[in-house]
Each structure stands twice: as C-alpha cells, then as structure tokens.
Amino acid sequence: MNIAETLPTWAALPVAFLLVLGGLISLVGALGLLRLANFYQRIHGPAITVTLGAGCILIASMIYFTATQSRLVIHELLISVFVLMTAPVVAMMIMRAAVYRDLRKEHVADKEKTGTDRTATGA
C-alpha cells in the first residue's frame, strides 16, 4: 500500500470515483442477470458491465499508474479495444444460439403434434 499512499490528491479522487462507479455498474449488470425474467432480457445485463463498467475501471487504472510511475501508461487502451471488438461477437453468437434453440423446440413440438394427428387419423 506504500505506492498508493504517495498518490497525489488530484489523482486519488478521480481514481476512487471511477473505481466505485465501475464497481457499481458491474454490480448492476450482475443484478440484471439475477432479476430479469427470461433469457432474451438477461443478455442485456452484462452489456453494461462490458462497456461502461470495464471502461471506468480501465480509465482509473490509466490515471493511477500514470500518476504513480510519473510516465504515460496507456496500454490499457489495448484491453478496451479488444474487449469492444470481442464482446459484441460473443453476444451475437449467444443470441443466435438461443434463437435457434427456441426455433428447434417449436419445430420438435410441431412435429410431435402432426405426428399424433397422423396416428389419430390413421386410427
């Protein structure tokens, strides 16, 4: 904790604020997973965590290490770029998997229905 104690006030305030905000946003995202009713709604919960939650924490990290090491530390930008490039693709894949699962369920249900109809007419 020695390095953290030498952090000047002008850096400590935004770092603390962004960390708390990022943590709260991630918490809300997790709460969304818990509270929302069905899968299609729940997929929107983690989107907040990925964008704004991760963004706040990464900006806080940039300010903190720039202030403590007295040089520009911005390689967190790479993390945000890669998160913003990969997270949407994952969301789309999960969404499509869910849609196809439900379509298949309907398809199977239809088949069973027509199957029983056919046996009914046959008998």
Binding site: I25, V28, G29, L31, G32, R35, L36, A37, N38, Y40, Q41, I43, H44, G45, A47, I48, V50, T51, L52, V73, I74, H75, L77, L78, L84, M85, A87, P88, V89, A91, M92, M95, R96, V99
Partner: protein
C-alpha cells in the same frame, strides 16, 4: 506499393499496438513494429477473400465512433435504471425488423459491433431473403423511432465510409 503494403491503416494499427504493448518508442521497437506491420498484412492477405476494407472518409468514421460512445454511455444508464427500479414484468422486450441498405461486409461487421456494444440492443441476424436486420430491443417504446435512428445515425455514415469507393469503381467500369 499496393502489393507490399495492402492496407496502410492496418499496418499503422499493428505498429501502434506493438508500441503500446511494449510501452516504449525506442528505435529498436519502432523497427520491430514496422516489420510486424508490413509482414502481418501481407501474410494474412489470403485469409481475406474480400480484400482489406477501404475507408474513404475517416472524419465521418471518427464522428460515428464518438456519437456511438455517447450513445453507449447514455443507454448504459437507461438500462441500469430499468434493472434497478422497474418491475421486470413491465419491460417490453421485443424483436424488431429493420430493412438495411448496407451491403458491404466490413460495414455490416462494424454496424453489428456498434449495435451490440450499445446496451439494450442485440443483433440477432440478417434475414437472407429480404436483407432485414432482426434486432432484439430491451425496452421497446416506438418501433419506428428505432428504425429511423439506426438508419440515419448508424447506417448512413457507415455507407459513406465503406461503400463510397465501390460506387465510383462501379461507375468507372460501366
């Protein structure tokens, strides 16, 4: 030039990525990054059957990204408010269809990333026959508003950025 540097922008991004990863601007790393930036796109070109994307209006692209960033922050708070304070039965989650004019695959990829990064909307798929986008909206009030917003704020700039040179090419060939 075109043969050894198929995408100057990609090369520049790779160089920047290398320098950021190593957190330095020493000449040795500049050289290594430049080699990476030149060799990687040339070697990866066979993996890109469409060729590298050509970005014709960088300013429009930056403006689009900036506006999307604002939109992301705004809808983050909207979605958070719904999760925290609304009863979940009252949330009107719907699938909507949006007719798209955009055909460029890189443009569509960018559009899907922007839409999926914005909390509250998830891209499902493009219906192959009608070229309509199937979009899932977390809390739907006005379907027409969504269609207008996506078409004017997102699709129009992306068409300007990605499809402009192709049109001029087509004009040249015809």
């Amino acid at each position: 030039m075109k043969r050894w540097l198929p995408s100057p922008l990609l090369s520049l991004c790779l160089l920047l990525m290398w320098l950021l990863l190593n957190q330095t601007i020493e000449p040795a790393h500049l050289l290594l990054g430049a080699v990476l930036g030149i060799v990687a796109p040339v070697l990866a070109r066979p993996l890109q059957p469409q060729g590298y994307p050509r970005i014709s209006r960088p300013f429009v692209l930056f403006r689009l990204l900036w506006l999307s960033l604002i939109e992301i922050v705004r809808s983050c708070f909207n979605v958070s408010r719904i999760i925290l304070f609304r009863r979940t039965e009252g949330v009107n989650s719907q699938f909507i269809h949006i007719p798209l004019d955009l055909r460029d695959p890189y443009g569509l990829a960018l559009l899907s990333c922007l839409i999926n990064s914005t909390p509250g909307t998830v891209w499902v798929e493009i219906v192959p026959d009608t070229h309509e986008l199937l979009l899932h909206v977390f809390d739907l009030h006005d379907e027409q508003w969504w269609i207008d917003t996506i078409k004017s704020h997102y699709e129009q700039p992306i068409i300007e950025v990605f499809e402009q040179p192709r049109h001029s090419e087509r004009e040249k060939t015809t």
